[in-house]
């Protein structure tokens, strides 16, 4: 008994000593600041998407600087109220917040500016300018760091499009070859062709449900008809008067298209959120869809998809006619103009002013998004991180996950969309939710056939104008112009 006790005492002491030594032994890596004793609270949606990326960066950062990182996770829909409540009460609850760019206007007053030395590194130049100079900026200041890239790209079934029988039948019916659609009209021809409910395959799948990211899908349609190359920033509002543009003929045509999509989608599509569209496509139920990069990663993964190896990608369809709000006419172009839509814009990370460890927090953000860490995140399936750096587009990274052809098309589609001259930015305004709620309600009504597209959009426009007046037309206009880079 005595022996056991002595032995226990000895080993306990040894354990305490060594752990004490081990703890005391944390030394920051060379060139890294020492943040021992600092704990960074990071707010994020529940993992694995984004949270796992922040964790990966956090682990790496802890090893490098001896600081601690604690990721606090919330349901996505509740992030916004959680942040605002904390800021409104002046609580220092978060050192880093991850959030959607659409919330930037509402959160910006509470965020600190990015330290200038972060902008002087090589890694800074590696960030794609569309993110670096447009999304990460608000009112002239860099207030957030992109941690994820987001835009909509088109996906199509390689196996169906290359099947000789299908190609012959298509040519016979439409008089042209079966190719990836370049315009929305072509998109609908292909969709009609493949819409065979009796065989269990449908044309397209998009999100239509209220609260299911539906309006982004509508925006992608609308961008093609309303993002005029010569009238930058005129998609949502008139940049000079802040009148809502959502009921102009471009938007109406887009809504008519959107309703057409509903008819060529699987049953129950009216209740689809973006996740459902992904599942439908990966389940082999539709010939095409458009979506964020997730369809690519899910569809090519044999453990999650019925169609691995058949996921083709391209730019979302464009149009040869675009509405000109100044001349109030449709302008014809000699070639198809694509307006890839930066739906959602991609998660951002920022450091609130209230945080007491701002320097450490920004250092953590920089570390997590550096080239090495972000590349690991970009190819890891569950991280939710889509490419936003030039180095993310290197093919070697991706060929481990997808077939060479899929990887090639996937990356090209993303890169070309980002670099397109007529890329369309998402809407970012103070009071964002108020605007989108109105849109969602009227859209679902139009989709259900209760009102006509023109009525729905007229209603949206008038309600939006009321909102703008209530919030202050001048300040809203300034914010809108800033968000569009005017």
């Amino acid at each position: 008994m005595k022996k056991m006790f002595a032995g226990f005492l000895a080993s306990a002491t040894a354990a305490i000593l060594t752990s004490g030594i081990a703890a005391a032994q944390c030394k920051p890596q060379s060139g890294m600041p020492d943040y021992t004793g600092v704990t960074i609270n990071v707010g994020s949606q529940v993992g694995p998407f984004i949270a796992s990326a922040m964790k990966q960066g956090g682990d790496s950062w802890s090893k490098a600087t001896c600081g601690k990182v604690q990721i606090v996770e919330f349901p996505f829909g509740e992030l916004y109220p959680k942040y605002l409540t904390a800021f409104a009460a002046g609580e220092d609850a978060f050192d880093v917040i991850t959030f959607a760019p659409a919330w930037t206007p509402d959160l910006a007053p509470f965020l600190s500016e990015m330290p200038s030395k972060m902008r002087e590194t090589d890694a800074w130049q590696d960030i794609h300018p569309t993110y670096r100079d447009r999304l990460m900026v608000w009112e002239g200041k860099h207030k957030s760091q992109t941690i994820d890239g987001d835009l909509h790209t088109l996906h199509y079934r390689i196996d169906l499009f290359e099947d000789p029988k299908e190609r012959a039948a298509f040519k016979a019916k439409y008089g042209r070859d079966l190719v990836v659609p370049r315009t929305w009209d072509e998109y609908y021809e292909v969709a009609e062709f493949f819409h065979r409910p009796n065989d269990g395959i449908y044309g397209v799948t998009e999100a239509f449900a209220r609260g299911g990211q539906q309006f982004w899908f509508y925006f992608t349609h609308a961008a093609s008809y309303t993002n005029h190359p010569e009238n930058p920033g005129s998609m949502f509002f008139d940049p000079d008067t802040m009148d809502a543009q959502v009921n102009n003929p471009g938007w109406v045509k887009a809504l008519e298209d959107y309703i057409k999509s509903l008819k060529l989608a699987p049953p129950g599509a009216l209740n689809y959120s973006s996740g459902d569209t992904r599942q439908q496509f990966a389940g082999g139920k539709t010939s095409m869809n458009f979506d964020w990069g997730d369809t690519g990663t899910v569809g090519t993964d044999p453990s999650q998809s019925q169609i691995p190896g058949s996921v083709g990608s391209d730019l979302t369809p464009g149009s040869t006619t675009i509405w000109n709000y100044k001349t109030k006419q449709w302008d014809e172009f000699s070639r198809v103009i694509h307006s890839p839509f930066m739906a959602f814009g991609g998660w951002q990370a920022a450091v609130p002013e209230l945080s007491e460890d701002k320097e450490a927090a920004w250092h953590y953000v920089e570390h997590t998004t550096n080239i090495e860490n972000s590349s690991i995140q970009a190819i890891t399936g569950g991280s939710g991180v889509n490419p936003y750096r030039y180095s993310h587009f290197s093919k070697d990274l991706w060929e481990k996950k997808m077939s060479p052809r899929e990887a090639n098309e996937y990356l090209t589609a993303q890169r070309d969309s980002l670099g397109a001259t007529n890329v369309a930015l998402d809407m970012r305004l103070p009071g964002y939710f108020s605007y989108t709620e109105i849109l969602e309600i009227e859209l679902t009504r139009a989709l259900a056939g209760e009102i006509s597209p023109q009525e729905a959009l007229d209603s949206v426009a008038s309600q939006w104008n009321e909102l703008t007046d209530e919030f202050g037309r001048d300040s809203q206009k300034a914010a809108y112009r800033a968000s569009m880079g005017l």
Binding site: R210, G268, N271, F433, R445
Partner: protein
Amino acid sequence: MRDWSRHVFIWPATLVVLLVTLFPLVYTLDLSFQNSRLVPPLPPKYIGLGNYTKLFGQERFWSVIGNTSIFVFVSVTLQYVLGFAIALALHSKVAGEKLYRITFLLPMLMTPIAVALLWKTMFNQQFGPLNQVFTFFGYANPPFLTENIWSYGSLITVEVWQWTPFVILMMLAGLQSLPTDIFEAARLENASSLQMFLGITFPMLLPLSAAVIFIRIVEAFKIIDTVYIMTGGGPGIATETLTLFAYQEGLKKFNLGYTSAISFLFLVFIIIFGLIYMVILKPQIEKRR
């Protein structure tokens, strides 16, 4: 002697409730008279009854009240009838009683959000089991969550599934508290089960029934998770409920003044309803005591 013991009994509860709920109540009332918005940050100013008049004038408000009321009354009626019936069944020594007792209570103990998500899968028009059942009977792909009557039916089904156990539990406890001698006396006089139910059971349990129904109605009015997850408020605002409406205004748009007005009106409405309820039922209850 009597004086101090009654205080000991009642003050702890009263104090806790006062402490925690007083400030929010006053704050809410105060805010409801202001034009307070967090986003975009406008300096709040007092606008008297402005929020209330705006609310009354908004068509959406009335439509939401209508939806919620239909919803509440249908589902609570179903819950009460079914719940009472099952409680009676359990009380009458049916075979497998022990198993039933445990399993019947489970739905009530699940998180409402989880229940909503679960039923959303079940109602899925393509991957859901219910669709298979309906297709089997010849009606393929019913629009469970997308068309008006169907979506109402689906939402009510979920509510009934989750909250009938509450009624079962309470009524069963009530049944078990009934004194057995009256029943024995009635049986000796050869009363039929129906007579015993109508003459003894139901009247004796009337106070409890009233309480249970009242609580279910009050709680049902606050339904939000089910609707939010399953239909998002329905096509347009067809299935939007009062609390969902308040939630959008309050925690998404941070239109605090307006939300406070909604919350307060809601409170007033329920209080009035409760008073009417009690006034109607009181004589019935007193009669049976």
